[in-house]
């Protein structure tokens, strides 16, 4: 889950890392009040969960509180990366002599966090790594003992930074590594850290992402920041169809009907499980089919959950038929899924034989399932028909590639 900059800034501040005086505002009046607290010029930054703010005109400089209010009014109307801003960050315009980069991320191969530091900050670290690799330091840290200052010191020193700079940056980077661990972050980045004319260092912009699975352990922080439990912060906002999918899933605890995602095709998909759904979605597209949705059923869903999902998909505008397909199941029962999808058709006064393009779920209780499908004349396939072949048949039935 990605944090807005104003939230990330607060997390950094709480970790004991110096930040500039800042305020969050959702109206020009609030922005003016925040700018009045800042002595001197301010920066007004659009609060969206995407990059490219500068280019889009989402960052403006103001010399007076009135100017800050005017910029805020303009920025709040600018959509950036498909998102309207949640508000603006009113920040001190600091006099910076040099910019540095510090970040912590997971390294999935080493299975440890890695601290990354560069004395070349303010730009994309990937670019620095590409153009001046000697200016980027990296070091893994242990998962089993607390972060130790020397680890941050080694990374910083490896980039050629020494003297009082090194000694002042070390505690900042150490605290950043500690906050990464303490808050179950998947990314904690301060870019840039600025060196001010008096030789002190300050965090000027921060980017933080928390692991979704760990949100339950950080309820207090999230409540303090005003992050609601229902805020998914996905790459895009869920559509009404997707929200309806979440309701189908939450209404019954038996099994999973997850990750319901909207597409604009005509072939509805009732597919599972994790890997099976990825494979089947690709297979439909490889045969020229246009999926109306993505989903993952599994974990032995009940008749009512399967029925609810199938009804949702069948009723989606533009859906002509549905394909019910999974990789071989061992936990989920074939007969229960068969009952669920047939029930959905019947409740909508639709003919299962006509609406279900194909049913390809081999595995546990398949004989019982196939018997039910036979009774309603639904075309089905066992494991001798590959997932790709089943997808091909479904696409063919709906009128072939489009």
């Amino acid at each position: 889950m990605r944090f807005y900059e104003y939230e990330a800034r607060e997390i950094v501040r709480r970790a004991g890392i110096p930040v500039t005086e800042f305020g969050f505002a959702t109206t020009p009046q609030e922005a003016k009040a925040a700018a009045e607290k800042i002595t001197g010029p301010s920066v007004i930054k659009s609060q969206v969960l995407s990059g490219g703010r500068m280019k889009a005109g989402g960052v403006q400089f103001a010399d007076t509180p009135d100017e800050a209010a005017a910029h805020t009014e303009a920025i709040l109307k600018i959509e950036i990366g498909g998102q309207m801003p949640r508000g603006v960050l009113v920040d001190t315009k600091a006099q910076v002599e040099q910019e540095y980069y510090a970040g912590v991320v997971w390294d999935g191969s080493a299975k440890k966090p890695v601290i990354i530091f560069s004395p070349v900050g303010g730009i994309d670290i990937e670019q620095v790594a590409h153009e001046q690799p000697e200016k980027v330091g990296r070091r893994h840290i242990s998962n089993l003992r607390p972060v130790s200052g020397y680890e941050a010191k080694e990374v910083i020193a490896s980039t050629g930074v020494t003297g009082s700079e090194l000694n002042k940056l070390t505690p900042i980077v150490t605290k950043l590594a500690q906050l990464f661990i303490d808050n179950d972050m998947t990314l904690a980045e301060i870019n840039p850290i600025g060196r001010l004319p008096d030789g002190s260092f300050i965090a000027l912009d921060a980017h933080m992402e928390m692991e979704n699975e760990a949100r339950g352990r950080h309820k207090k922080l999230l409540a303090d920041l005003g992050v609601g439990d229902d805020e998914t912060r996905e790459a895009r906002e869920p559509t009404p169809f997707e929200l309806a999918g979440e309701i189908v899933d939450s209404e019954d605890h038996r099994g999973v009907a997850g990750n319901v995602t909207e597409f604009d095709g005509n072939l509805g998909l009732v597919i599972g499980a994790g890997g099976g759904s990825l494979t089947l979605f690709d297979a439909v597209r490889a045969h020229g089919g246009k999926p109306a949705n993505y989903c993952e059923i599994g974990g032995n869903p009940s008749v009512s959950k399967t029925c609810g999902l199938a009804k949702l998909v069948l009723q989606k505008p533009g859906v002509d038929k549905i394909a019910v397909m999974m990789s071989i199941v061992s936990n989920t029962r074939v007969d229960i899924v068969a009952r669920g999808v047939i029930k959905a058709c019947l409740e909508l006064n639709m003919d299962p034989a006509e609406k279900i393009a194909i049913f390809r779920i081999p595995g546990a209780w398949e004989d019982e399932g196939f018997k039910i499908l036979d009774a309603y004349g639904v075309e089905y396939a066992d494991r001798t028909v590959s997932m790709h072949e089943a997808a091909r048949r479904a696409v063919e039935k709906i009128g072939g590639a489009q």
Binding site: L144, E211, G274, L278, T279, A283, S330, S386, H388, E389
Partner: protein
């Protein structure tokens, strides 16, 4: 022959009294020669039995009851308690730990993996279905009930490694239907950080004389395929590899997670396109469809033998 487990492997089930764990225990006892499930652990349930398996409060009690070191543990406790359960297993001398539990924060996984490494123990998973040696033993829910597992898996010479539990069975079943059995199939889990990656399991298959080729199932997200490509390049492996890559559509949808927790395109290296290129550079054939896999791997094995 096999990797990681064989007919003599002893293991416990942590969280054995949970509904899924009770089923899993039954399945393991019924499959092949019958797994040696020497105990179960659920705190507060000392003295009970699950399908004849004695239940203990602690791993220490289970080891004492067994009277000898126990080889493995299948961990099925809820995510908030998994790290503690795994630490308990490792510090009681268990060397192979299969973590079934999903939705464990990666910090916890990283701690478990580091403690395991320091104690010469190996973790498979989390968010996985475990290990199966066809007709011999299964450790975990892989393949489901014994009679269903018997339909999909057959003994033979192909090693299977998969980030998806269900697809481990689908691919093995396809191999079985083509007359190609499996030496060992391992469901390694779909999370961003897992105990054993492809590259980390390859040395085991390399050392297993029964294995002649490897089939892997992979997805967008992470650097595990690059790691495998590197391993193949560095080790002059005797084993030909065929891969299947699912989730190609995700390349168009950066930042969105599908399938498994670790399946997300966050950078160029995460994409299916990039991974397919990496694998191909290392001489790993990437199949377009599952049904092509048996012929592809057979051809590569024949090529090496010729």
């Amino acid at each position: 022959m096999s990797i990681l487990v064989d007919a003599n492997t002893t293991f416990i089930v942590q969280g054995i009294t949970g509904r899924e764990a009770v089923n899993l225990t039954r399945e393991c006892l019924d499959y092949g020669a019958g797994a040696k499930v020497v105990g179960g652990v659920t705190p507060g349930r000392l003295g009970r039995e699950v399908h004849g398996v004695p239940v203990f409060d602690t791993v220490e009690q289970a080891v004492a009851h067994h009277g000898a070191p126990i080889d493995g543990a299948v961990v099925t406790v809820p995510p908030a308690f998994t790290k503690d359960a795994v630490f308990e297993a490792i510090e009681n001398g268990i060397k192979l730990i299969v973590i079934v539990t999903e939705r464990i924060p990666r910090r916890d996984v990283a701690e478990m993996v580091e403690l395991a490494a320091a104690n010469d123990a190996r973790i498979i998973g989390p968010n996985c279905l475990g290990i199966i040696v066809p007709d011999v033993i299964k450790m975990g829910g892989i393949g489901g009930p014994a009679k269903d597992a018997a339909k999909a898996y057959s003994p033979g010479s192909i090693g299977v490694i998969s980030r998806s539990g269900g697809m481990t069975t689908e691919m093995s079943s396809t191999l079985t239907a083509a007359g190609m059995g499996q030496s060992t199939a391992v469901s390694i889990g779909g999370d961003a950080i897992i105990g054993s990656s492809y590259a980390e399991l390859m040395p085991f298959f390399e050392a297993d004389k029964a294995t002649e080729g490897i089939v892997i199932y992979t997805e967008p997200g992470g650097r595990m395929e690059a790691q495998l490509a590197q391993w193949v390049a560095d080790n002059n492996s005797r084993l030909p590899i065929v891969a299947f890559m699912a989730g190609r559509f995700m390349d168009e949808m950066p930042g969105m997670s599908f399938g498994h927790a670790g399946t997300i395109v966050e950078g160029k290296e995460d994409t299916a396109t990039e991974k397919i290129a990496r694998l191909a550079e290392a001489g790993i054939t990437v199949a377009e469809e599952i049904s092509e896999i048996p012929a592809l791997i057979q051809a590569k094995i024949n090529e090496r033998k010729a």
